[in-house]
């Protein structure tokens, strides 16, 4: 059993490396003389590596399933990793429809970030509580991630469109928002860097604090900027928190999570400032020249097509299968718990997107912004609702 787990971990690691190398080959296609849509040496190597990486990650998935006895989509690590895998899968599908190399340069790093992000969560295999023991759980979770992953490809294409099309000669609201989008990606990277660093240092600080009439304790793996409300530090030789979180922050781990968020934002800001200092211009402005030979209307088309394909898959997984499972497990198909509501919000949002596009002619830049917002909603549901708003679904 232990061997299977190790093997599974190695497969995942290999997949990560392959995606990383593939990204560099996709970057190499920028310098190819030929126009987008034709295959070159670089692009052939890049997509082959991507596919190999995907196969390796599938190996991870199967071996982990064998080891745990259930589909590995049941805790945050497994679920988020699977989402990354589906993102690569969706990219491969869209790639073979449009052969847009530049898409790989954006979609793969996003997948890499997501997989790295996943590995920050506890990785041990965990048992299933009775309500999660259902085939509908697997069916629901896998289809919903596939749907969201396809919608994420739409975000990648939309982002490229915006970086290419937005006028960078003058500063405007649009350039600022675009930088904010790029900054949030950097903040995710910041989270991974800072967590890995302090993990390697074996940092730990334990707090005690009153919680629901009892004394609870919480372990910080990052230096406490924000401590628990009315908490006392137990570990010696650790910094005291700069401030305490307000009392309405609910949950045993609320303060620790908030502290992690702060660290991510600060590290992200550091990365952003360094990048600006090196580039001496807005990050989007620095990327823009690399996109010269990419056709805008093709990007627009890809972004829309991904929504057109992803929306039905998402509806099926995120609403219909979710309702069937909820009916089986909790005898109510809909209960207005935050995770469900955010799935509904996502669905409403993309319905609005489709109507605006089909009936009101929202193409190009507007459509690209909508793709970005849609992805923000999906990420909010995946991460923030789990971490901040606890509900029936919160695995962690």
């Amino acid at each position: 059993m232990g061997d299977l787990i190790t093997l599974s971990g190695n497969f995942l690691y290999l997949a990560f490396i392959l995606y990383l190398i593939a990204t560099f080959f996709f970057a190499g296609t920028i310098r190819d003389k030929k126009t987008e849509g034709t295959s070159t040496f670089s692009s052939k190597v890049a997509i082959s590596l991507t596919i190999l990486g995907f196969i390796s990650q599938t190996g991870y998935f199967i071996t982990r399933w064998m080891a745990s006895g259930h589909a590995p989509v049941s805790n945050l690590f497994e679920f988020t990793t699977f989402f990354g895998m589906m993102l690569v899968f969706s990219f491969i599908i869209i790639y073979f429809i449009y052969r847009l190399n530049i898409l790989g340069l954006f979609a793969l790093p996003i997948a890499l970030l997501i997989i790295a992000y996943a590995s920050m969560f506890p990785k041990e295999i965990s048992p299933l509580v009775p309500s999660l023991k259902s085939h509908w759980l697997y069916i629901h979770v896998t289809t919903v991630s596939l749907g969201e992953a396809i919608l994420a490809v739409s975000f990648a294409a939309g982002l490229i469109y915006l970086i290419k099309e937005i006028d960078q000669t003058v500063r405007s609201k649009r350039t600022t928002w675009l930088e904010i989008v790029i900054y949030s990606i950097l903040a995710t990277l910041g989270f991974i860097i800072i967590s890995t660093t302090f993990n390697a240092l074996n940092y730990n600080a334990t707090f005690e604090f009153p919680f629901e009439g009892d004394i609870s304790s919480v372990d910080y793996q990052l230096p406490p900027l924000a401590g628990p409300n009315e908490g006392t530090l137990l570990t010696t030789e650790r910094m005291n928190p700069l401030f305490e979180v307000p009392s309405w922050m609910q949950g045993v781990n609320a303060a620790r999570k908030f502290n992690t968020l702060l660290w991510s934002l600060i590290t992200g800001l550091g990365l952003y400032i360094i990048a600006r200092a090196v580039l001496r211009k807005r990050i989007a402005a620095a990327i823009q020249p690399l996109l010269k030979k990419t056709k805008s209307d093709l990007l627009d088309e890809v972004s829309y097509r991904a929504v057109a394909i992803g929306f039905p898959v998402f509806t099926l997984g995120g609403l219909i299968f979710a309702m069937i499972w909820a009916q089986e497990a909790w005898n109510r198909y809909w209960g207005w718990d935050p995770k469900e509501v955010w799935a509904l919000i996502t669905w409403f949002f993309y319905a609005a997107f489709l109507h605006l596009r089909l009936s009101r002619g929202w193409h190009g830049e507007r459509s690209a912004w909508l793709a970005v917002i849609g992805f923000a909603i999906i990420m909010f549901n995946l991460i923030a609702v789990n971490l901040i708003i606890a509900g029936l679904h919160s695995y962690a």
Partner: protein, 555 residues
């Protein structure tokens, strides 16, 4: 009704028609695509057929109709609902706060001023508020009216697909090209290539229409019908007969009537099972995760149940039970029969079933048994005739004993903490001694009792809590869901593509239109004209945009 006669083909069109339904020639001056600056291209929405909301706007009915048929209004409603839904997740809804607290106190205590405002605005029950319901209803109305407003012209447009089109129509399509000299062989190759790509080809006097995926145009209407059916299904929840939600406790070994079945069905709890992780061999794989948890993790809750049917038809007579179905009820596995479903939702471990007492002399240190009796706690007898001439009567029974202001009371009717006031009649005596006995309690109220009642033994059993559901709306919701999915896939994964071939002297004019995915139709045409000298179509919209861009840069 005003009618419009086409000056090219003399076809009579309905009021409001923009492109002649027969030949496609524009009938109005300003015929251009919504939201696009181009003057050149035709607005091909519903092929220019007359739409009610675009034609009339006099009466109140017209105005209401026009309001709801606007996509702008529809999208606005969706966005408002979306934002409202998000607001409902800022703080937990009332159903997710602890059951035993006052909401108005809870929100204020836990979340301060924000919580108080949230509560006062009624946001703690947002999803069942009247205004949220109205929003959903308005979306429903909007879907219905907008769909009818468009499905009529769409039907008229798709019914009349003629190969012959006016030259203006051909020239003002987004995809268009002219080729001066085309051999019959080339034209033939082109058409047969299109056919190979599953285009349906109709020909009329050299004019050709190749068409594919027409059915996808109905997709949005099919999916909207699905949505409406779903909404109606959800609404039917409020009709009493359609939906039953009840709950029943069943003790191990007991058979009770299933509520809301009019005494027709009974359920027996043969055994209730609870399992946690770590007990079995194969759970070792979860060792690490289990060690990181403070408490045990539940693995299974299960009731082994038998359903009986009452075959006695006389009302009021003793029921006659016949075994109907035997199955286990698990979380995620309900027991279903005759439209009912029983769900495993709750349990109570180790409820007392019976208690055995002995009687001994108060000052006998060995507590030698003089007589003994057993009380069935769910159905205790009033009087017990015992050995050696003893007699015991139950004066008071507290199934769930506690002290309220010095007074003994029972918290519930379930024997969770049973206690008794016994009247013990010694042999040949008619004067009883009063004795109080319970778990770990044995009180002699008078202090003068000669005999004492002592607890000797007890039996326990588990109780299962089952939710009883009957929901006739589920099939309707399912149907709505299926129709919605069919409609969305139909409209999303296929597109309606049309290619027109218009003979012109020795050559031909080409025009093409699709409702979406222009990339795809261009690819089709590229493939179909390969090895012919027919010119590839030009994307006139793109051309125009690029021209505009250049002009702006030149400024």
């Amino acid at each position: 009704m005003r009618e419009i006669k086409c000056d090219a083909c003399h076809h009579i069109n309905r009021e409001g028609t923009e492109l002649c339904e027969s030949c496609g020639k524009p009938l109005v001056e300003k015929q251009q695509a919504e939201g696009k600056e181009t003057k050149k291209l035709l607005n091909m929405r519903y092929d220019g057929s007359s739409r009610r909301s675009m034609t009339y706007n006099k009466s109140v009915v017209d105005r209401v109709w026009n309001f709801f048929s606007s996509v702008k209004v529809g999208v606005t409603l969706i966005v408002i609902t979306l934002i409202a839904s998000a607001v409902g997740t800022i703080l937990p809804q009332q159903m997710y706060i602890p059951q035993n607290v006052q909401p108005e106190v809870h929100y204020k205590d836990q979340y301060g001023l924000i919580g108080q405002i949230y509560y006062q605005l009624g946001l703690h029950e947002l999803y069942s508020s009247w205004w949220y319901m109205i929003l959903i209803a308005l979306i429903g109305i909007s879907i219905i009216i907008a769909s009818i407003d468009r499905v009529v012209p769409l039907y008229r447009a798709l019914k009349n697909q003629k190969p012959t089109r006016h030259t203006t129509f051909i020239q003002r399509q987004r995809l268009h090209s002219k080729t001066d000299d085309v051999t019959d062989a080339d034209k033939h190759t082109f058409i047969s290539n299109l056919k190979r790509m599953r285009y349906k080809v109709t020909e009329d006097n050299g004019h050709v229409l190749a068409e594919k995926g027409r059915f996808s145009r109905w997709g949005p209407y099919v999916n909207h019908v699905g949505l409406i059916i779903f909404l109606l299904g959800a609404l039917l929840r409020f009709v009493p007969f359609m939906y039953i939600d009840d709950f029943v406790w069943v003790r191990e070994g007991e058979t009770v009537v299933v509520p809301d079945t009019n005494g027709e069905y009974f359920i027996e709890n043969k055994d209730f099972i609870i399992e946690t992780y770590g007990d079995s061999e194969e759970d070792t794989r979860f060792k690490e995760a289990l060690e990181n948890q403070s408490g045990p993790i539940a693995k299974n809750f299960q009731t082994n149940a038998v359903i009986y049917r009452n075959v006695e038809t006389v009302v009021g007579a003793e029921p006659q039970l016949e075994k109907f179905k035997e199955d286990s009820i698990l979380v995620n596995h309900a027991l279903k029969f005759d439209g009912f479903a029983l769900y495993q939702t709750s349990y109570q471990l180790n409820e007392f079933k019976s208690m055995s007492f002995i009687i001994h002399e108060t000052n006998d240190a060995d507590e030698t048994e003089l007589a003994s009796f057993k009380v069935d706690l769910t159905n205790p007898a009033e009087e017990y005739q015992l050995d050696n001439g003893f007699r015991v009567m139950i004066d008071q029974y507290f199934p769930d004993y506690y002290i309220d202001d010095g007074e003994p009371r029972s918290q519930t009717k379930n024997p969770k903490n049973p206690a008794f006031v016994f009247l013990v009649y010694p042999p040949d005596s008619s004067e009883p001694e009063v004795s109080f006995a319970g778990i770990g309690r044995n009180v002699d109220a008078s202090g003068e009792n000669q005999y004492k009642v002592g607890l000797q033994d007890f039996e326990v059993r588990d109780v299962t809590g089952l939710t009883v559901r009957k929901d006739y709306t589920l099939p309707i919701l399912g149907l709505g869901g299926i129709i919605f999915m069919i409609g969305v896939i139909q409209g999303m994964y296929w597109q309606h593509r049309r290619v027109w071939i218009h003979p012109k002297n020795n050559g031909l004019w080409l025009a093409a239109h699709t409702n979406k995915n222009w990339f795809g139709i261009k690819k089709d045409i590229e493939k179909a004209i390969m090895k012919t000298n027919i010119n590839m179509v030009v994307d006139q919209e793109q051309e125009e945009q690029e021209l505009q861009k250049q002009q702006e840069q030149n400024k």
